[in-house]
Amino acid sequence: YRLVYVGVQRSIARPILFYAHHPRGAGKRIGMATQLLSKYERDYIEEGVNQDLREDGRNCRDYRSFAVQTGVVSNTSGSARVQLENTSAVVGVKAELGAPDPTQPNSGRIEFFVDCAALASPEFEGRGGEDLGHHLAHQLAGAYSHSSTLDRGSLSIIPGQQCWVLYVDVLVLEWGGSVLDVLSLAVRAALHDTRIPRLIVTGEGEEVEVEVSDNPHDSTSLDIGRAPIIITVTKIGLNFVVDVNMKEEMCASSRLSLAINEQGQILSTSKDIGGGIPYFQLNDAIRMAQEVSREVFQKLNSTLHSQDHEGLGGNTRSTQLFS
């Protein structure tokens, strides 16, 4: 199987968010599991980044390789698993009938839920991962909030009454840095894998009846051509890096997550962590994110297409999650 990077970006309209300090410990940041680092390790990483050499030998712009598998869980309309070194997540999409948002009667809906499972990191015991899960879900929702990202009109069944609701449920299995990016890849792959059953609508007015086609092959796929991925650029020392591992995350002074679609448009932005980003560096950060997003899209799309050609994709068959 191949791995695909997924990034999710936040909506443009959202104000810049700042993380509050976690109530449990001084300086403990929501958005990352902590790891102990000595001052010397920190200096080593920062100095390295300043010279475009990261502690694992990469350049600032290098994304690690990732693997993507689609169609991994059968009770879903679409699913995907993404593994990027020691970060991994499984996403399941279930399309169910529901009522549309009263303010948008001609559209279907998409809802995100992220579960930072306690097994993903020692930090998440008890309800430790809950706030983090809500935050990540919020960011994913933000990335997909713009109407161009998905054809919500095609999800409408009876305007004002019935529509498809896509429940996108994310399970974070391993927490190892660059999580938001990975989640956005997994979500995009799962949406690519999603098949919506065909409906037969009969009757009119008060007596409209909706029947879901029994034939599992009688379904349509979603057009994810404009769905974004999220690329997070993290400021360490003087430079920005993409795809941070756990140690690098601890050295970050600030970071910027951008949701970018394949056309290169930026759909949402979010700045995290306390430090400030110098104004003159903003353009560099954005350009880096855009360039990296192109590479990542390429890798993601080629993986998904080759899986399609091999007869995979769609929940018509279920793969082994681990081979």
Binding site: N75, D115, A117, D169, L321
Partner: protein, 215 residues
């Protein structure tokens, strides 16, 4: 199919595919207990969380833990306790986290199988493995390993957790109706199933730690 050591952050982990069940288990421990008042000064404690993801069943399930999940968490914890040598680690906790990705009947047994392997993978001293399998009664016949369809239409479902070397039953539940004779037959069948599962659990650990040398 069971695969050990699949999660890098957990101290021990295992993934199981049992029929159409797909379950992931991660173990952390022994580690400090938070909140402190829950720590036991003479023995470690075992905590278990069994959770089903929303897309594990045909109709989307609410992510919040249901009563069934809470009950299964308790039952699995009690099934594992006799096997783990908790008294060696006072004031600590061993946490077992189970996430069910896909459910198709007998998931608590599959979860227990994965949890045992994950505990062993974490290097936690154990007296024995716990192997589990469900037996049941469908169409007046005692059968082994009932799946979801059979459970809905059948007459009884009996999950059994068994320690194969100590020959002790650590999990036994029944849902349904049976005559005493059928009950005994069901237990016998279930234990035979548990022994088969035990071989698969051993194989998973061998593969993880001895690779291809040990066949």
């Amino acid at each position: 199919m069971i695969k050990a050591g699949v999660l890098k952050n957990a101290n021990g982990s295992a993934y199981i595919e049992f029929g159409d069940n797909k379950i992931m288990c991660g173990v952390y421990g022994p580690r400090d207990v938070h909140p402190k008042h829950m720590a036991n000064s003479s023995t470690g404690i075992l905590r278990c969380r069994y959770h089903m993801v929303p897309y594990s069943v045909s109709e989307r399930k609410n992510p919040a833990p249901s009563r069934r999940e809470i009950e299964i968490s308790k039952v699995i914890k009690e099934a594992l306790e006799p096997a783990v040598m908790l008294e060696r680690f006072p004031r600590t906790a061993v946490d077992v986290f189970i996430e069910v990705l896909q459910a198709d009947g007998g998931s608590r047994c599959a979860a227990l199988d994965a949890a045992s392997v994950a505990l062993a993978d974490a290097g936690i001293p154990m007296r024995d493995m716990v192997s589990a399998c469900a037996a049941g009664k469908v169409a007046d016949t005692v059968v082994l390993d009932v799946n979801n369809e059979e459970d809905q239409a059948g007459q009884a479902d009996m999950p059994i957790g068994y320690m194969p070397n100590l020959e002790k039953v650590t999990l036994l539940q029944l849902d349904g109706i049976m005559s005493p004779k059928e009950y005994k037959e069901c237990i016998e069948t279930g234990i035979k199933g548990c022994k088969i599962v035990y071989e698969i659990q051993k194989k998973a650990l061998n593969e993880r730690y001895f690779g291809d040398d040990h066949k």
